[in-house]
């Protein structure tokens, strides 16, 4: 796995963007990511769609790799850790989670997580609706934020469309950053891209397997 990094400074904090859909906050030794949607593959199978678990496994492997790479102390999931109901994926995740006994896990509750409260109770993960660390407020859906200050959120699965000469068009996942907020891309690869809800005056950091591009 090729981890490409780019440091940016927001509110005097250095955040490391990666092309692997997660941000490392060195000062706090925290890995920040959003929208893993664990349980989605099994949920699809339950509804008659033949999706194998390899997709989940790939997501978890990538997360494992990132945790090792940065020697992370804390993982902050900005919502939608789980996709839906209890299913076999959750078991996989539970076993997988056991290897990180020295890592602190925090979940900001997302719209999907609301249905799975009982699942989270079984895991050693603390759950909060909102969390403020320093000048950052973490919340799943930025639209539900009533306070002031800088938010870090997920939920929208942001993507950006790049148009070039000769009617070329490319769609890439991205981080969106404005003076007020920072929207994270969905961590899971088994998610769509939303290229419509781009906040006003946002700077987009789009990424590929080998690069990060600022737009």
């Amino acid at each position: 796995m090729n981890i490409v990094k780019e440091n940016i400074t927001i509110e005097e904090q250095v955040l490391t963007l990666t092309n692997q859909r997660a941000v490392y906050w060195k000062n706090q030794e925290t890995l920040i990511l959003s929208d893993i949607h664990i349980g989605k593959t099994a949920h699809f199978r339950k509804h008659g769609i033949a999706v194998p678990d390899q997709i989940l496994q790939d997501d978890l492997d990538r997360l494992n790799h990132l945790i090792q790479h940065f020697s992370v102390k804390k993982v902050l999931v900005v919502g939608d850790l789980f996709h839906a109901e209890r299913n076999t994926n959750i078991k996989t995740f539970k076993i997988w989670l056991n290897q990180f006994s020295d890592v602190e896990w925090i979940l900001i509750q997302g719209n999907h997580d609301k249905k799975s409260n009982h699942l989270i109770n079984e895991l050693n993960i603390s759950v909060v609706r909102e969390l403020t660390i320093g000048s950052f407020t973490f919340i799943h859906d930025n639209l539900e934020f009533n306070g002031n200050g800088f938010t870090i959120s997920g939920h929208t699965h942001p993507g950006v469309v790049i148009k070039g000469k000769g009617k070329q068009k490319l769609k890439l996942p991205c981080y969106q950053i404005t003076s007020q907020q920072f929207v994270l891309p969905a961590f899971s690869l088994f998610t769509g891209l939303n290229t419509r809800d781009i906040p006003k005056d946002a700077t987009c950091y789009a990424f590929t397997d080998s690069s990060i591009f600022k737009f």
């Binding site: 509804h47 008659g48 390899q54 790049i162 148009k163 070039g164 000769g166 070329q168 080998s210």
Partner: protein
């Protein structure tokens, strides 16, 4: 023979017909006689000539002559692709048996049949059952279904030409083979309109060596008038849909001077548009003009159909939704708006007017852009030469096979060896190997390699009695709900917020709208209020302008037959003959093409290179239809990209295609011959197909039919867009983990046979290799290239490094600023 001529049965029928003032057509008499001699066969007759009574009365006569051969219960199964026809057919048959004095019951069974009636039928089957291929398979999925079919004497396949080219045809082939298993002496009769490959159509329907097979052809010919409606003046740069508004004034007088007119458009979007145009131009048509297409509420459609039949409606704007179906007596005129893309379809539509055997059919052709006038000229030429397209049968459609296997497992269960022998006799699976068969068995029991560990996909089990069965009620129910071979786009209901259903619309379209946006459906301008529970809630809009929905399924490609005539007509368009008024009219356009570039002769192939502020354009004009051009363009993009790292966006229509790049395209006189060479054609095509996503798109339908993706779910309506889009994901996973998956291979085969039309592509390259290749550098868009420029459907092909592309786009954007 004389025995039959003197038989009581024939006498009774002859008398009955004579009472009504009719006499049998020769082909009817021939069918009756052959049937009574134990033949199976195919009847070739145009609609409106009593083809129904050819096969139906054959069974009646045989019954009258040999009542002792016919035990109680089902005698004749009538399988038709169209639900809407069944009711009227059943009525006609019921009247006939009653007047003849038989105590037969004739009933319909399809998706519209109420449960109570179905239960009643299951207790006691009628003598004649009219049904659809899908419903046949549903019947096979019932417990103890074989008892209903034991004594069936005849199965008739109506409108076989509509079935043969698609997967519903495979459903039909499989249904026949199962019926033959239940009732070995079954006689099989197909009824078809004229198609280009009648002999093959017969062999597909009747592949069984133990059958006596015959073909009966009606000699009657329909008289046809084709009148093209010319605009007042010609635009030299034509573009799709643009001619619309100023042609309305030409259409109104045609409507006024006929009793009832059907106005055919090619897409539902166009139908909505023309309905508005006509009403705006002549408001007093309100109430007398209706719009009919597949997305309109069924009740409203039925009302419209009834009122065409009664002659109340003056005109109906419609799509292929009215291509087939009940005969509308009052219709004496048909208007076709825009290209029909095929000879058979054109004749079919024309035949909707002047329906009775001795009337003339009359069809007006209204072009939506000037180039379509070449098409009508080509159509006339093709019809003069009696050329109609072939409908190629599909083969080795494993998705339908595994569905059928599960269907039988849900029903009575099956013995694998016996079923294998049965399936091998079916035309579509004649070349299936034992390994393929074992794979299918493994797929339905284990879900294939990739899904082995998921019980949800272990649908079928081998029971103690040696039969493969489905034991889970949930799986049985899900399977029954999803039997069939029609995969629909994800649709959404459209309802007024105050209540009242308007129709269906594709999710794809509605997802692009925001609340407050207006769109047109069922001839109304509607404002989207909100989307809730897979329903779009709307209110009436006061907006003057609104978007017409686009339906993905709407666009049909030009057939190869028509494209041949098109090239022919275009090649002499500079010097049209006196009678070719369309070509004469087109002269200014043709001259401009000639001056700025070139008019390709039959033995020439035109390539145009143009540079504009959009970038560098390469145009080629094979005139082979959109589907072939999709492959052709990908192939060209691939070959050029071997000369230079480059990114193209690709646009295509039925005449040609465009490769557009931000960089100069390295094509000129020196290398064009190599780029268009026949050498390594298929290898390069395969390489370029892998690059594009054609197979993945084909896989979507295959995944649904094979049950990898479920279309209908019991209970709540849910958003199935995300569910359907997952077929792309399954495709990728299978490619990575199970490349020999038969369904995956089928996706590629389908690309080759249908999309790519390998044979047609080979022929095209053959032709091009013998042609003189003309490369022209034009200063601006030519009449031929202009429609391609404005076409918004585009694909991309690139062999450049993604990062590099992004980098360059960034730089370009910077420069423009």
């Amino acid at each position: 023979m004389s025995q039959f001529r003197d038989s009581d049965g024939l006498r009774i029928i002859n008398n009955w017909m004579a009472e009504k003032g009719h006499a049998p057509f020769p082909f009817q008499l021939q069918t009756w006689q052959r049937y009574s001699n134990g033949y199976s066969g195919m009847v070739v007759a145009p609609t409106g000539f009593g083809k129904t009574f050819s096969v139906f009365l054959a069974v009646v006569i045989d019954y009258l002559n040999h009542p002792e051969d016919y035990p109680k219960g089902l005698k004749l199964l009538w399988i038709s692709p169209l639900r809407s026809l069944a009711k009227d057919l059943a009525k006609a048959m019921s009247e006939a048996v009653e007047e003849i004095g038989l105590d037969w019951s004739v009933q319909v069974r399809n998706g519209d049949t109420p449960t109570a009636v179905r239960r009643k039928q299951e207790r006691l089957m009628p003598d004649v059952l009219l049904t659809t291929p899908e419903t046949m398979h549903l019947l096979f999925s019932q417990k103890k279904n074989s008892r209903w079919f034991k004594y069936v004497k005849c199965v008739a396949i109506d409108e076989w030409h509509e079935l043969i080219g698609n997967k519903r045809g495979i459903l039909t082939e499989l249904a026949i083979s199962q019926l033959r298993y239940y009732s070995p002496k079954l006689r099989i009769w197909g009824i078809t309109a004229t198609i280009g490959n009648l002999e093959e159509a017969k062999n597909v329907l009747l592949p069984y060596p133990d059958l006596k097979v015959t073909q009966v052809t009606a000699k009657q010919k329909k008289k046809l008038d084709i009148i093209s409606v010319l605009p007042d003046e010609i635009e030299v740069l034509p573009w799709a849909g643009h001619l619309g508004a100023n042609m309305v004034d030409k259409i109104l007088p045609i409507i006024a001077s006929n009793t009832t007119t059907l106005i055919f458009t090619n897409t539902r979007g166009q139908a909505e548009l023309w309905y508005q145009l006509l009403l705006n131009a002549q408001p007093d048509l309100a109430g007398l003009l209706a719009i009919h297409h597949g997305s309109i509420d069924k009740k409203l459609r039925n009302w419209i159909e009834d009122n065409i039949a009664s002659g109340y409606l003056k005109a109906v704007v419609c799509t292929s939704s009215l291509d087939l179906g009940v005969d509308f007596k009052p219709v004496d005129c048909v208007i076709q708006i825009g290209s029909v893309k095929g000879i058979a379809r054109f004749m079919q539509r024309a035949g909707r007017s002047g329906h009775s055997p001795f009337e003339r059919s009359k069809i007006y052709f209204v072009p939506t852009h000037s180039l379509e006038l070449v098409e009508v000229s080509a159509l006339k030429e093709a019809i003069k030469n009696k050329q109609v397209e072939a409908r190629d049968p599909m083969v080795l459609t494993f998705d339908v096979l595994v569905q059928f296997m599960v269907t039988l497992a849900v029903g009575e269960g099956f013995d694998a060896d016996r079923l294998f022998k049965q399936i091998q006799q079916v035309h579509a699976f004649q070349y299936m190997t034992k390994d393929d068969w074992l794979w299918c068995l493994q797929f339905i029991t284990q879900g294939g390699q990739t899904l082995k560990s998921y019980e949800e996909f272990h649908k079928v089990i081998l029971d103690e009695d040696g039969k493969y069965k489905v034991k889970s009620r949930r799986i049985s129910m899900l399977h029954r709900m999803n039997i069939g071979a029609i995969v629909s786009e994800a649709h959404m209901m459209v309802k007024f917020i105050s209540g009242g259903y308007i129709g269906m619309i594709e999710e794809f379209f509605i997802s692009k709208l925001k609340p407050g946006d207006s769109f047109i459906l069922a001839g109304r301008i509607l404002e989207l209020v909100q989307i809730k529970d897979m329903t779009a809630l709307v209110r009436k809009s006061k907006a003057k302008k609104a978007v017409s929905p686009s339906w993905l399924g709407g666009r049909l490609p030009l057939t190869s037959h028509l494209s041949h005539f098109l090239r022919l007509q275009l090649s002499h368009a500079l010097e049209p003959s006196r009678l070719e008024k369309e070509l004469r009219f087109l002269n200014p356009l043709v001259s401009r093409q000639h001056e700025h570039s070139h008019i390709p002769k039959v033995d020439e192939f035109l390539v145009e290179l143009i540079e504009t502020k959009d970038g560098h354009h390469l145009f080629m004009y094979p005139f082979e239809g959109r589907l072939v051009h999709e492959v052709f363009s990908a192939l060209m993009a691939y070959r050029i990209s071997k000369l230079k790292q480059i990114t193209f966006t690709i646009a295509m229509n039925d005449y040609g295609f465009e490769l557009l790049s931000d960089q100069p395209i390295p094509v000129d006189d020196t290398n064009i011959k190599d780029l268009l060479s026949k050498e390594n054609l298929m290898d390069d095509v395969i390489a370029s197909i892998n690059a594009s996503e054609m197979a993945s798109r084909k896989f979507r339908d295959i995944a649904v039919i094979a049950g990898l993706v479920v279309q209908s779910q019991p209970g709540t309506r849910k958003n199935n867009k995300s569910l359907q889009s997952s077929s792309g994901l399954i495709f990728r996973v299978l490619e990575d983990y199970e490349p020999d998956n038969l369904l995956l291979r089928q996706a590629y085969t389908e690309v080759f046979n249908q999309q790519l039309e390998e044979v047609r592509l080979q022929e095209a390259f053959d032709r091009i290799s013998k042609s003189k290749i003309i490369v022209k550098y034009a200063k601006s868009f030519t009449p031929l290239s202009f429609p391609l420029k404005v076409d918004s459907l585009r694909g991309t092909m690139s062999n450049e490094n993604l990062d590099k592309r992004i980098q360059r786009i960034k730089e370009q954007a910077f420069k423009i600023k």
